[in-house]
């Protein structure tokens, strides 16, 4: 240690130096020390320094140290964000690689959020080395920052078909892990994986894929069937190549999908059991199989029981798990007996506890379905209480209570056992580790009290419960003791009174009065309260007894009523009555000062007064009655006390089948009450005898061919073999189903754990991305971003105005108001039969539907280009076999100062289904397509829908334009998969987007005075154009300009008009249009001369067509 601290001092010195090499070396040393368990968090900053070294050597060491020592709590981690980003975009693949590797170890939600975008870009890096790492790290990022899953998913899907096997396997890995959390989303990928599975030769990938299918098959049963063949092939080949992982997984899956070949695989498994490592897996696999095919495993019971003797604990535990599923009525006793011997032998409390819980689990599973003899079960439970130092006392206690309440016939026996337990309570309580097991006394006391009528020697038990030793028990147990003492007392009182032993009754009362004070002094409040309350009651009874008033009736009436088990969910299922608001305050919450001042004092007073004071005795009779009444009332109102109104679920004894089973006869031959604590073994013997006898009886019966008085089920069960059903339970098993409130809602919603870290990944990937979900982009703080929210407002206003105006105005004018400018119809070569189409047509945004009809006619007419903004491009067809016909209408609309929305209407005119459409546009310097976060320039943007034949749909894309003074043309490609009966083909369609200058203009109304001022201001440049040969009326001419170029008329005088418009970037454009004889001249003034001249050019083109 001394040496180490010396070393650390040395390292600290080295870290102070400027030389990066020395520093790196020091950090390297630190990393080693960290492994040896020394704290190096103080050096976090130095580590970052080394990380940011420019040399790979040092960077490598820095990242290593970081990945080893950083964790989410490291505060300097925020400092690394930029460094990592820089390294990620480094030209050297190894720099990037090392950064990714490091990041994988210490990614935090913040880092994940900030870097998700960069990593996504890296997913399409040119080097497979980086792609692979980026894909894998995405999984980590998804875990930390689930919002990134949706935007990244398409990219991830792409990577499944990556040419590089490493990347492919990484993608498979990630999707497999994701699918484990929420397989539903990935169902659509199944065909892809299926292809991969059949084609891949990489065992590692295969295993992952099979695992993935394992997650998917439960959701899609058809998949299971499809998988049978390749899987069986795989199993065989894999067994030969002895790659065991493949085997085990394959087997697991094959079984979960319910394949017929499971018996074969089990054989393989048992054969493999000879090896120890595989034994464990064999058991594991078995337990999986058990869930689907319980029968097939049961035959291996012996093998599994052998495993219980194994030295290795994990094997034993696995085997235990298996046993759980293997029990039946027949072998339950045998198995439990075996387990009991293990309990005795087992060393180590954890294993023993495990055994104990397993025994109880096994016995109690599905409503005690397999227990035929509950006496045996009770004695097992009692035996279990004798285990030392188990933590599961409460479990046993719960079982005892449960059985005693639900199995009526066993109560007598249970009570006798419990009283014996209470008698020997000192044994349990005095044992050094009384940690858990004294819980049993809780159950014992309660059972004895509640079912006191079954007690043989109630007096004896009463005394046992009043022993001074009891006060050493934990509080809650004492409380139960006190309560049940009274129940017992009430019972004894009644007995004595019926027998007319007034003396005896008084003696019991005296006993109570003598012993109860010890509880009154208890430190536990609950005990104290109950004890003092009861003490007063008993004292009062004593007085009455002295006057020879019969009191027993009254006292026992206190405890009338039967308890029914209540299903754990019952409370939840009680429907909230109408008009009841559980969240509302019943009383206004007291203000702090009030409650602090008054409350405690009041409580104190009350308590002090009450204890020494006797209750006014004359009121007692009434009070008792009142209390009784109140209790009944309460029960009536209490949804859990359904006693008086028979609930539909209560099955009690009205099932004839169970009732008529001849049970008693066997029990008669055996003394029911086994003295002391009986050994469960006896019961095993008894049970066997019983069964034997039953069998003999049955045989006899069969021989005589006489159908006897047996009713119900028995009659049908005279089969030669003794099946499970034949074993009649020894007791009248009265398994009460748990009660539910009558109007319980049948919903069985599984509440998911809200803390489940993977739940966040439970995202529906099929939904289109919402804007809010886009990953935050690292933005420069420039004016644009800060302005944009403000800019939104006017746009919205404009939109809302639109509909009103439309109503009033002429259609032409409506068009003016619309923002939409641009449209383009793509001509597309068609399927062989189909004709060529080439027309464009315009549509206004708001009137999409109504204008659809004109579309058809216009197309047929082959109308020429109407709009200067639109451009016609013959499309070269790349796909040879079946170029899928479609039209694209491209309409741009302006929204913000630098953004243009282009709505593309895609219409499928072919007979095939088009899917997987992706639009990729080649960005220019000036215009860029806004893509989902993280995708690079070369990636396509998916079209969020599929197109069945003849259907059209509209997709909108946003483009960012920097300068609007020039017209733009963007080249783009639409790629898609056309699928028809003959198969699927991948096709491409090239198109061009034309952004004309006019499309940047927004129609803005302007008044003549403002217009005049604008012209006067003089800072507008001027230009003019003249077009000859126009015969169109001036009215139409203006309408055309308005429509195509988004101008509005300011003033019109004869054949002269002034017009105005504004660009999205705020340029004013003023026009003076004059119509001459055969010509039109347009004079324009604009704050930007380039824009103006371009605009006029466009206008000229439009006018020339008139």
């Amino acid at each position: 240690a001394k040496y180490i601290s010396q070393c650390i001092d040395e390292i600290k010195q080295e870290l102070k130096q400027d030389n990066i090499a020395v520093k790196a070396n020091a950090v390297c040393k630190l990393t080693y020390l960290q492994m040896l368990g020394y704290d190096i968090s103080w050096a976090a900053f130095n580590i970052i320094e080394v990380m940011s070294a420019s040399k790979f050597t040092f960077k490598r060491i820095g990242y290593l140290a970081a990945s080893q020592s950083f964790h989410e709590g490291t505060d300097v981690i925020m400092l690394t964000t930029n460094q990592i980003r820089k390294d990620l975009s480094s030209p050297s693949q190894y720099d990037t690689g090392v950064a990714l590797t490091g990041l994988s170890c210490f990614v935090t939600p913040d880092l994940a959020r900030d870097l998700a975008n960069d990593i996504m870009t890296l997913m399409s890096h040119t080097k497979p080395y980086i792609r692979k790492k980026a894909v894998l790290i995405m999984y980590k990022v998804f875990l930390k920052y689930p919002e990134s899953l949706r935007p990244a998913f398409p990219r991830l899907k792409e990577k499944l078909e990556d040419p590089d096997p490493g990347v492919q396997s990484a993608a498979v890995n990630v999707i497999c892990e994701l699918a484990r959390r929420n397989p539903k989303n990935y169902l659509s990928l199944a065909p892809l994986f299926f292809k991969l599975m059949t084609s891949s030769t990489n065992n590692w990938v295969l295993i992952k894929i099979i695992k993935l299918f394992g997650a998917l098959t439960p959701l899609e049963p058809r998949l299971g069937k499809k998988l049978i063949e390749p899987l069986t092939n795989l199993i065989h080949s894999v067994v030969l190549t002895t790659v065991l992982p493949g085997l085990s997984v394959a087997v697991l899956i094959s079984l979960s999908s319910g394949m017929p070949n499971h018996s074969a695989s089990i054989q393989v498994l048992t054969w493999l059991w000879r090896l120890s490592a595989v034994k464990y897996l064999g058991l594991l696999a078995m337990s999986k199989i058990l869930k689907t095919h319980p029968k097939s495993v049961q035959s291996h019971k012996d093998l599994i029981l052998q495993c219980l003797d194994d030295k290795d604990e994990s094997i034993r535990l696995r085997a235990l798990d298996l046993l759980y599923g293997m029990v039946s009525k027949k072998n339950l006793m045998e198995i439990v007996k075996k387990l009991m011997t293990h309990v005795d032998k087992a060393e180590g409390t954890t294993y023993r506890d495990e055994l104990l819980t397993k025994i109880i689990d096994i016995c109690s599973q599905s409503n005690y379905q397999y227990i035929t003899n509950f006496e045996w079960y009770i004695s097992i439970l009692v035996e279990l209480t004798r285990l030392e130092g188990t933590r599961h006392g409460h479990l046993i206690a719960a079982q005892m209570l449960d059985v005693a309440i639900r199995v009526k016939a066993i109560r007598k026996f249970a009570v006798s056992q419990m009283s014996a337990l209470l008698d020997s309570a000192h044994l349990l309580a005095s044992s050094t580790q009384r940690n858990g097991i004294c819980e049993v006394l809780y159950a014992a006391a309660w059972i004895c009290g509640e079912f006191s009528e079954h007690l043989q020697e109630p007096h004896h038990t009463l005394e046992a419960m009043l022993r001074p030793k009891v006060t050493t028990l934990p509080g809650h147990i004492q409380a139960v003791y006190v309560q049940n003492v009274v129940k017992l007392y009430a019972n004894i009182l009644q007995q004595k009174e019926q027998a007319g032993e007034a003396e005896g009754a008084q003696a019991v009362t005296q006993l109570m009065v003598d012993r109860l004070p010890q509880f009154v002094q208890s430190a536990d409040l609950e005990v104290q309260e109950r004890a003092s309350c009861i003490l007063q009651l008993v004292k009062h009874i004593q007085k009455l007894q002295a006057k020879d008033v019969p009191v027993a009736e009254e006292v026992s009436a206190l405890f009338a009523g039967e308890l029914n088990p209540v299903a754990p969910k019952a409370q939840k299922k009680v429907p909230v009555p109408e008009g009841l608001d559980l969240d509302a305050w019943i009383n206004e919450p007291l203000s702090d000062s009030e409650s602090e001042d008054e409350r405690p004092r009041a409580v104190f007073h009350e308590e002090e007064q009450r204890r020494p004071k006797h209750r006014p005795s004359e009121a007692d009779e009434e009070e008792l009655a009142r209390r009784r009444e109140a209790r009944k009332q309460e029960q009536a109102n209490n949804p859990f006390y359904i006693k008086s109104s028979p609930s539909p679920q209560k099955r009690y004894q009205d099932t004839p089948g169970v009732e008529h089973i001849p049970v008693v006869q066997i029990d008669l031959s055996v003394p029911l009450k086994v003295p002391g604590l009986p050994m469960s073994d006896q019961y095993v013997r008894l049970e066997e005898e019983r069964r034997h006898r039953q069998k003999l009886e049955k045989d006899k019966r069969r021989k005589k061919r006489k159908e006897k008085e047996k009713k119900g089920k028995r009659r049908h069960s005279s089969l030669p073999t003794e099946s499970d059903e034949d074993i009649a339970p020894a007791q009248q098993v009265d398994i009460v189903t748990e009660e539910m409130p009558e109007n319980a809602l049948p919903s069985d919603e599984d509440d998911k754990d809200p803390n489940d870290p993977y739940r966040a990944l439970d995202i529906d990937l099929d939904k289109p991305l919402a804007d809010s979900e886009k990953l935050p982009v690292q933005k420069h703080r420039n004016a644009e971003t800060s302005k944009s929210p403000e800019k939104d407002v006017p746009v919205v206003e404009k939109k809302s105005k639109k509909p009103k105006k439309k109503e009033k105005k002429h259609k032409e004018k409506e068009r003016d108001k619309e923002k939409k400018r641009e449209k383009e119809k793509k001509k597309s070569p068609k399927h062989k039969k189909k004709k060529h189409k080439k027309e464009k047509e315009e549509r206004t945004k708001g009137k999409k539907k109504s204008k659809k009809q004109p579309l058809g006619s216009e197309e047929a007419a082959g109308e020429p280009v109407q709009n200067g903004a639109a451009e016609e491009e013959p499309l070269p067809v790349r796909g040879t076999s079946a170029p899928p016909p479609r039209t694209c209408d491209i309409r741009g609309s302006l929204q913000e100062d630098s953004q243009v929305t282009v709505a593309i209407v895609l219409e499928n005119r072919s007979s095939s289904i088009l899917k997987g459409m992706e639009l990729s546009v080649l960005d220019s310097l000036n215009a860029r397509m806004a893509r989902p976060q993280g995708s690079s320039v070369h990636d396509g943007v998916p079209v969020p829908f599929q197109l069945p034949p003849g259907v059209s749909n509209e997709a909108q894309y946003v483009f960012t334009i920097q300068s609007i003074v020039m017209a733009q043309k963007l080249k783009g490609t639409l790629s898609f998969i056309a699928k028809n009966d003959e198969g699927a083909t991948h096709e491409k369609l090239d198109f061009r987007l034309h952004f004309s200058c006019s499309s940047y203009l927004t129609t803005t109304p302007c008044y003549s005075d403002a217009f005049a001022k604008l012209l006067e201001s003089g800072d507008l440049s001027m230009s003019s154009v003249k077009v000859d040969g126009i015969r169109m009326s001036f009215q139409n001419l203006l309408a055309k300009i308005c429509f195509h170029h988004h101008f509005s008329v300011v003033e019109r005088v004869d054949s002269c008009a002034s017009m105005y418009s504004r660009s999205i970037q705020g340029h004013h454009i003023c026009l003076l249009v004059k119509k001459g004889e055969n010509s039109v001249s347009v004079d324009g003034k604009c704050s930007d001369s380039t824009l103006l001249s371009n605009l006029l050019e466009e206008m000229k083109a439009t006018l020339a067509k008139c």
Binding site: A21, C28, T31, Y32, M35, L36, G37, D39, S41, K55, F56, T57, R60, I61, L64, S67, Q68, S69, F70, H71, S92, Y94, G97, V98, L100, T101, S104, C105, F106, T108, Y129, K132, K133, L136, I137, Y139, G166, A170, N173, V174, E177, R180, N202, W204, V205, I207, V243, L244, P245, S248, V249, S276, A277, K279, L281, L284, K311, D312, S314, I315
Partner: protein
């Protein structure tokens, strides 16, 4: 995979890699506990054990224990295979690897592991590719190192 530990028969930790962020304290506790339980097991016992809610897969190579913690649904045998593959890689890289190799070149051992596993998932299944990546990175490292040395040398000369 949650984490990977390498420790000697004496219980000395030789390498640790955590794929889940934990505080140092917890890491230490887990390590101590695991080293104890694994070392206590007899050679004939199977190489899987359940521990807390994880499964531990370990294997002994000479004097070193390789120990991985995986989640419930993960496959044990494939983890065993991963361990073996890692050992093979170390073996190839160092040329019949021994404990001392890992002690003295622990950062190399980490680099190899990083090339092979990333974030607890297998990154590259091909031995060749992993080694190639490591070699190239080493080459790069050496180059920068020699450049660095030569720079010092030049500076040295200039000083004269």
């Amino acid at each position: 995979m949650q984490f990977m530990l390498l420790f000697s028969r004496q219980g000395k930790l030789r390498l640790q890699k955590w794929y889940v962020p934990l505080s140092d304290k917890e890491k230490k506790k887990i390590t101590r506990e695991l080293v104890q339980t694994v070392l206590a097991r007899k050679p004939k016992m199977c190489s899987f054990l359940e521990w807390r809610d994880l499964k531990i897969v370990y294997k002994r190579y000479a004097s070193l224990y390789f120990c991985c913690a995986i989640e419930d649904q993960d496959n044990e045998l494939i983890t065993l295979e991963i361990i073996h593959r890692y050992v093979e890689l170390l073996d190839k890289y160092f040329g019949s690897v021994c404990e001392l190799d890992i002690i003295f070149n622990f950062e190399k051992a980490y680099f190899i592991l990083d090339e092979f596993l990333l974030g607890g998932e297998v990154q590259e299944t091909s031995k060749k590719n992993v080694l190639k990546a490591i070699e190239q990175a080493d080459l790069l490292q050496e180059k920068t190192e020699t450049m660095y040395h030569s720079k010092i040398f030049i500076g040295f000369k200039k000083a004269y």
